[in-house]
């Protein structure tokens, strides 16, 4: 097997060190390592992180291959520094059976750009009425352990309780899309001053917070593990903080766009900013950053939601909700969390690799950069500054809110078990 020496990389942002990859594993970490027989990558002080893990990705295959496929989505993931992604279940057909999750898992293996861990639907057809065969999906080759009806909320309290209880049998976790459906009928953006002015249907913060409050209490009652998807409001942060202080086994994620953008962008009526949950207020953004810094929010997840051009090049109300995110996530985190002094790179590794891998049970990912560990690594040029150019995205879709915006940082190399998937910024 081939050897690679990464010379002078700031491992997790620390002092420059050499990292020697031998085959699929990290052979040594230290200073002045011998380059003999190895391909040398001069890191020149770039930051080396464990391969990033995204607990919330939409790969759209099967069913919407015009938006994204497992291959294009995993190429986008590799471009963004990810070595594992969890693929959401809202495909066509829905990933609610062992057959569909195995198909997604197999397509991931074939792509070779990043490990794909399918997420199984909680209920049949995401309809919220009848539990899907959670055990069968877990027992399948895909070994599903995360279940979510993402895109829809499991709003029936009894179904949610049963799902939480049931997955305990095999150490699963239910990832909730917290959105009270009745309170968000016709919702187009955050409910508040701006929605009132623009005449767009409001998505009130309480529609998210009331479901989170209910679900942490359910998780406590039945002693189960709960994960909250794309948390977006200051009030939600307070509820998670309270739940954790009470010892409830809950984790939460925040999306990069909720760390950077506010509802003010909606004044453009540009559907690039249309996303669910919606962009919130400046106050919410501040609360989310602080919560990610102090660990109340456990991880960053992209909610990478590719849509074809025609689904966004239209009037706001007709547009699809969602943004692509895999290729810009780390840059947004650098701008909002690192350059503001809220997180150092070791903590970024925690929020974007170690902890998401632990929550999702992604074996071999989210491991320390140390000898004997799988060589899943990401090298980041943190000094880079450049405008986001969607034309260069590997994702099949281009629906980014950052077009033309300057963001810092660029992933130059990604290694999946010792094999480069991204080399000098180019996919292999």
């Amino acid at each position: 097997m081939s050897k690679i020496l990464i010379r002078g990389a700031k491992v997790l942002g620390g002092e420059p060190q050499d990292v020697l990859i031998d085959g699929e594993l990290i052979a040594a970490v230290g200073t002045g390592l011998s380059a003999e027989g190895a391909e040398v990558i001069e890191a020149d002080g770039k930051v080396l992180l464990p391969g990033l893990v995204d607990l919330h990705t939409h790969l759209r295959e099967p069913g919407r291959e015009d938006s994204e496929t497992v291959l294009t989505g995993t190429r986008a993931a590799a471009s963004g520094g990810f070595t594992a992604v969890f693929a959401m279940a809202n495909t066509f057909p829905v990933a609610d059976t062992a057959g569909v999750v195995e198909q997604v898992w197999r397509l991931g293996k074939e792509s070779g750009y990043c490990d794909v861990r399918p997420i199984g639907a909680v209920t049949v057809g995401l309809e919220g009425k009848k539990l899907a065969e959670l055990g069968a999906m877990h027992d399948s080759a895909a070994e599903v352990s995360v279940f979510s009806d993402d895109g829809k909320c499991v709003d029936d309290a009894v179904i949610m309780r049963r799902a939480l209880e049931y997955v305990k049998a095999f150490g699963g976790v239910v990832a909730q899309h917290a959105q009270e459906p009745r309170l968000t009928e016709g919702a187009q953006m955050n409910e508040g001053v701006v929605s009132a002015e623009l005449g767009l249907g409001g998505w009130p913060a309480v529609a998210e917070e009331s479901i989170i409050a209910r679900d942490v209490l359910l998780a406590e009652h039945v002693g189960s593990r709960l994960h909250i998807c794309h948390l977006s409001t200051a009030g939600s942060v307070e509820i998670i903080r309270w739940a954790k202080s009470r010892g409830i086994d809950v984790t939460a994620e925040v999306c990069p766009h909720h760390l950077l953008l506010t509802e003010e962008m909606v004044r453009t009526y540009n559907p690039a900013y249309k996303v669910n949950p919606p962009l919130r207020t400046e106050r919410d953004v501040r609360a989310l950053r602080e919560a990610l810094a102090d660990g109340t929010i456990d991880i960053v997840a992209t909610d990478h939601a590719p849509h074809p051009h025609e689904d966004k090049d239209c009037e706001w109300a007709a547009a699809a909700m969602g943004m692509v995110g895999l290729e810009t996530a780390l840059s947004v985190v650098q701008e909002t969390m690192v350059e503001t002094g809220l997180l150092d790179w070791a903590a970024v590794a925690d929020r974007m690799s170690f902890t998401p891998a632990r929550i999702g049970g992604a074996a071999g990912h989210g491991r320390p950069v140390a000898a004997g560990e799988p060589a899943n690594l990401t090298l980041v040029d943190t000094a880079y500054r450049g405008q986001v150019d969607p034309a260069r995205f590997a994702s099949r879709s281009r629906n980014t809110p950052y077009e033309g915006r300057e963001l810092p940082g660029r992933v130059t190399h990604t290694w999946l078990r010792g094999k480069a998937t991204l080399m000098d910024g180019k996919l292999t």
Binding site: A196, E197, L198, G199, L200, C314, E315, W316, A317, A318
Partner: protein, 330 residues
């Protein structure tokens, strides 16, 4: 003047007064035996209605024809929010046919803004009502009606509505008329009070440049104009208020309530009225109610807006228009 008319909030005081003054000139045309000006001869205006509204469309059509424009009416049938391609493709088709202006009505808030700012077309866009967002020509015709009634047609020329007290009553939450009126009346110096049950006021209304009250009776004696908003019957099923009767008792305008208004005060309604619920027949048919005048004034206002945005080649009315009427819009 801006190139487009998307929102009443985009108008400066001077823009708005210019439109009202121009509308007075246009109104004189309606008194002539031949109600037509050659101003927009050779220009083509498209009325693009994605949402049914016979009254507004006919008003625009009358205004366009009185200015001698060629008129194309396009009614997009089918779903209320049609797929995006249809809006983009439709307007690009129209522009390829040489349309000089687009009057658009759409159920989606922001659709006219998107049309004017997306680069899909080059022609001026006039918003004829979008979702629950804006209906700027309605606000202008309301302001025009107030100025004529409360100040006088000739005495009002060049004047705004400084210090006039206007009360808007009813379903503010779903009303583009309310939003447009609050913006424009504030710009024109009027004091606006919104009166509605809390369920029919948007979250965030406290930041608007107006007062808010839940109590109609205490507001009436301080009002120079009361504008009743239409309440759609389907709101009742969505629990915005308990029953039609309870709404009517608390927020309907009947003879007793009208008697609380100052002598000179007027009663307005954007139409169509739901008689017996938001307004009684007695009030609707009284000479203080301006509903019919509002319709007539709507044509004058729309003539003025089309004239100013399209920069006609002829004088506006009997008198040559002042020179600045025709500049700055190319």
């Amino acid at each position: 003047m801006q190139r487009h008319l998307i929102s009443a909030a985009d108008l400066t005081r001077d823009d708005a007064v210019l439109i009202l003054d121009t509308a007075e000139e246009m109104a004189r045309v309606a008194d002539r035996p031949i109600k037509k000006l050659p101003t927009l001869r050779g220009r083509t205006v498209c009325n693009l209605f994605f949402e049914d509204s016979t009254r507004t469309r006919i008003s625009f059509e009358a205004a366009e024809k009185r200015l001698s424009a060629d008129v194309i009416n396009f009614a997009a049938k089918g779903s209320s929010v049609s797929k995006g391609e249809s809006l983009k493709d439709t307007v690009q088709t129209l522009e390829a046919m040489g349309v000089d202006a687009v009057v658009i009505r759409h159920s989606a808030s922001g659709a006219p803004y998107r049309l004017a700012n997306s680069g899909w077309i080059d022609a001026p866009v006039i918003n004829a009502g979008d979702g629950t967002h804006q209906h700027p020509t309605q606000a202008l015709l309301d302001a025009f009606t107030m100025r004529r009634r409360l100040i006088g047609a000739d005495a009002g020329l060049g004047r705004d509505l400084d210090g006039k007290r206007v009360t808007l009553v009813g379903d503010v939450l779903h009303s583009r008329v309310a939003r447009s009126n609050v913006d424009l009346l504030h710009t024109l110096g009027a004091e606006v009070t919104l009166v509605a049950p809390p369920t029919l006021l948007p979250v965030g209304v406290e930041t608007w440049p107006c007062e808010v009250s839940y109590d109609l009776d205490s507001t009436l004696p301080k009002s120079d104009a009361v504008m009743m908003l239409r309440v759609q019957r389907e709101r009742m099923n969505a629990a915005f208020f308990p029953t039609e009767r309870e709404y009517s008792r608390r927020y309907g305008l009947d003879g007793d309530r009208m008697a609380r208004l100052p002598e000179h005060a007027i009663v307005m309604h954007p139409g169509p009225m739901v008689r017996g619920m938001e307004i009684t027949a007695e009030v609707a048919d009284s000479d203080r109610c301006t509903v019919v005048e509002q319709v007539a004034n709507g044509v004058s206002i729309r003539m003025a807006v089309l004239y100013l945005l399209l920069g006609g080649n002829e004088p506006a009315g009997a008198q040559p228009a002042t020179s600045h009427l025709r500049t700055e819009e190319k």
